[in-house]
Symmetry: C2
Subunit: 522 residues, 2 copies
């Protein structure tokens, strides 16, 4: 049963319907957030059921042939990529402990730990993190992970990062929290932590907050910011080479979604500081692209032709940044409706991308901007408009978040040097799908007024890859929108062009010159 | 101490700072919402204090010379204005009781009770409600109010509305809830009810929901909708006559904010079915208009001249509807910045007013649309963009609500036949203030697509009053925006014009013809 589909009952409803009164529903307290545990408890109680936690995971008990956990060496991230030593990050955190009258913080997010210690791993595919928990108190830094992985390299790293780290077994974490609770004062946990942690800390010592580490990590420092830009230029070169290669080879009749994606990976892997993909590419042709979370498998793999729109949503992990980009192209003759849909997606994309706004503006605002041109004629798309992104970390990272449905209380809105995707789309079921996605950086805006001293912000597109002008219906675009496309394309050519020449991709360069030619509204 | 101002501590901080540990803070449980009681309890507990409820209100105990409660006769609202009998409204509510597995609902909102019983009162200035509580159970309808007011007229009204009502003393309400709890099953209360009700109902019998009555009341029936439109046309005639009168008489040198407002009331009172004002007019000249919640007093009363912008935000109660309209006019020579600010406010106003959107869209979306043109240059305004409005009821009514800061979980977004204000503004401290406000109705949109079957909605402006074209900077406006202004003005003349002639306001009619002349972008 695939949760979320129309004909699939919600988990709540299924439990309430199937179980007889006084039944108990067991959960692994490490695999359910404290907020979900509380919510589900309330729902089940009202239906005469009870939610309980289990000592051991029942699925694990019967999971034979479980693949062993990957445990490749950890990777220290040099200061030239991280821009800030772990010692400084921990000092910042300790300032917050004082402010919040807490003696320690328990850190449960893998990407938060990777960021805090300037370490990367490969325990999870495409996201360079490693299995660990951490406790930072006013006097100690404890990392709960496989101690075998903390070799001389890592110990030297800690030394050069200016931190002294006590290493304990990964499974010792709850014991560590218990000791903390017994010997110290208030303990901070995050609103997204699992119920196990919530339950381990007595209410009068528990301070549960939107993750302090995530909030700090979301605002990139200047080294990370510059790294993100450089990584995106190289990534742009890879994507341009791929789109050019596709255009050249599509008529061979043997390029499929999967083989295309593999060629794109090839172009990415040629780029400096490439580590791997940031997610499995959504390489989707025609009606496949209308399935929002599609990614091709051997079974669904489809030939790419000139008869429909091809959507490619992909990204890379580079030592200096993470990328995530989507372009939609038609290599033949698009229909009038496809052009209209593409143009309305583009209008939202440009509207969001060129927005000026005061600090801490909620993501919902941008969602509205991105949808407006589609809404004007009764079209829409069924996903969020943007997500945060890590710097050589998770391709989805929160905050920030540009969605309409929820305003999370701890989500502080957009601030300078946050990064988010800008990704409106349009999907016509069984026909075609369109999405445009840039990674944009929140920067100071150069406008006449400054929101009465609050400061004006706008976006800078890190992503540099051409937008297919063939799919644009200029009659639907304003002069202003045409200018935005043209000046963006100028920048794409200026930044990606030299790199293509350097890589001897001369034909791709010539193609890019064509693709970025100014459009004129007649 | 005025809460909310920058140099005034919050109530939380003040209590935490001033009181010694273990102090108790007393509240009147009828004057604090259950949610605020819970929140404040948590804050005070964390600071070593305790929030408690008092048996009697300490302010009342020392309030000598308290003015007696007004107790004018209640006013039955005829079916030709209400459009739906109380019996039908109560039948709808009882359906919800069954659905929610509750045996009764306690109704604590005065405007909810007025709406449900199709009764009006004059216990509160400008809002035609009366002091009462109500309980609707699966078998009984109990109205807790001064029984002396339920005379033959009201008893006849109940009869023709098809309901049998038990009347009890206003102060019996908690006893009534207690009896309910002891003899019946689950009881529904609203999330905005006071702590007194929350505390009276045991947790396992309490169902607390965003008000079911408010949610139903928010969607107007066709009789109410048509009444709102008619009331707005008459109200438009009054406002046009006033703005014309002002233009004619401003040079007399003796028209002030207060005397102007009183003249406007005079023009309103000449209109059919006028009952009273819907709020004290914000009649504000020059820098006074920059104070968002300004309304003139004898001390602040200022002469209206041709040297600055005059902002008039006012409304009336009519038997067939409630109005709320703001216009900003300059009777002399506006500065370039005033024109720019006005035009950007207008652009937001038009953008919101012409939006197309799917059902249940959150108010936040419209807030973003209304601010965009101001944001583009770093300008903004410090208030919400829209509030719901009653039909011969409260001028502020929720839902709906067009604000950016909060997404209330029970607030279901905009639906067909909801009414809201559309009121962006701009305020330059110590200089001038601008606001434009229409009451708009959510109606079906006539667009090419329909959000994949969800249906497309848009707004219809109920308010018909000219927008001063003199203040528009046409270079900042698109062709589309110019057309929106022109077609709106055509409608204003067509709808208000005949009424002016009927009222022998021939000069005002000639002035309106001038004011609504098409503008042309050169």
């Amino acid at each position: 049963m695939r949760e979320g589909l129309a004909d699939v009952p919600t988990r709540d409803d299924w439990l309430l319907e199937k179980l007889s009164s006084w039944s108990q529903v067991g959960t692994d307290p490490f695999l359910i957030t404290s907020t979900e545990f509380e919510r589900l408890s309330r729902v089940l109680n009202a239906g005469g059921l009870r939610l309980v936690t289990l000592e051991r995971n029942l699925v694990d008990s019967v999971w034979n042939n479980r693949p062993p956990q990957v445990s490749e060496p950890l990777i220290p991230l040099d200061i030239k990529y991280s821009g800030k030593r772990a010692s400084e990050k921990i000092a910042d955190l300790r300032k917050e402990l004082i402010e919040k009258k807490a003696s320690a913080i328990v850190i449960t997010g893998l990407d938060e730990i990777a960021w805090l210690f300037n370490l990367r791993g490969s325990d999870i595919r495409n996201t360079p993190v490693f299995f660990a928990y951490a406790i930072v108190s006013d006097s100690e830094i404890i990392l709960f992970t496989n101690p075998d992985r903390i070799n001389d390299t890592i110990r030297n790293h800690f030394r050069s990062e200016g931190i002294e780290v006590t290493v304990r077994e990964y499974d010792d974490i709850l014991a560590g929290v218990k000791e903390l609770v017994e010997t110290r004062g208030n303990v901070i946990i995050s609103t997204s932590c699992s119920h196990a942690f919530y339950a381990q800390i007595p209410a009068d010592q528990r301070i549960q907050l939107y993750s302090l580490v995530a909030t700090k990590r979301a605002v990139k420092n200047s080294v990370e910011g510059e790294g993100m830009r450089r990584a995106h230029v190289r990534d742009g070169a890879a994507l341009v080479r791929y789109l050019h290669w596709l255009e050249e080879n599509v008529d061979s009749g043997n390029i499929t979604e999967l083989s295309g994606a593999s060629q794109l990976r090839e172009f990415r892997s040629m780029q400096k500081d490439f580590v791997g993909l940031s997610f499995t590419a959504i390489s989707a042709f025609g009606s496949n692209a209308a399935i929002v979370h599609y990614s091709p498998t051997e079974e669904t793999d489809t030939l790419i032709t000139r008869d429909n729109i091809y959507l490619i949503d992909s990204g890379g992990q580079y030592r200096d940044g993470t990328t995530d980009v989507t372009r939609s192209v038609h290599m033949g003759e698009p229909t009038a409706f496809q052009k209209e849909a593409f143009t309305r997606v583009l209008k939202g994309f440009l509207s969001l991308g060129s927005a000026v706004f005061p600090p801490k503006t909620s993501g919902t605002f941008f969602d509205a901007m991105a949808r407006r041109a589609l809404w004007d004629v009764g079209l829409d798309y069924g996903h969020g408009t943007g997500h945060g992104i890590g710097s050589y970390l998770g391709v989805h990272e929160y905050p920030p978040s540009l969605v309409s449905s929820t305003v999370s209380p701890g989500n502080v809105g957009l601030q300078e040097n946050m990064f988010t995707s800008n990704e409106p789309g349009y999907y016509e079921a069984d026909q075609f799908g369109i999405r445009l996605e840039d990674i944009v950086q929140v920067v100071k805006a150069d406008v006449r007024y400054d929101f009465a001293g609050r400061g004006a912000l706008t976006f800078y597109a890190n992503t540099v890859a051409p937008l297919q002008t063939k799919l644009m219906d200029l009659t639907l675009m304003s002069e202003h929108e045409v200018n935005l496309v043209n000046s963006y394309h100028e920048r794409v050519l200026k930044e990606v062009g030299p790199l293509l020449l350097e890589q001897n991709a001369n034909e791709a360069h010539a193609w890019l010159v064509q693709q970025t030619k100014a459009i004129v509204k007649t």
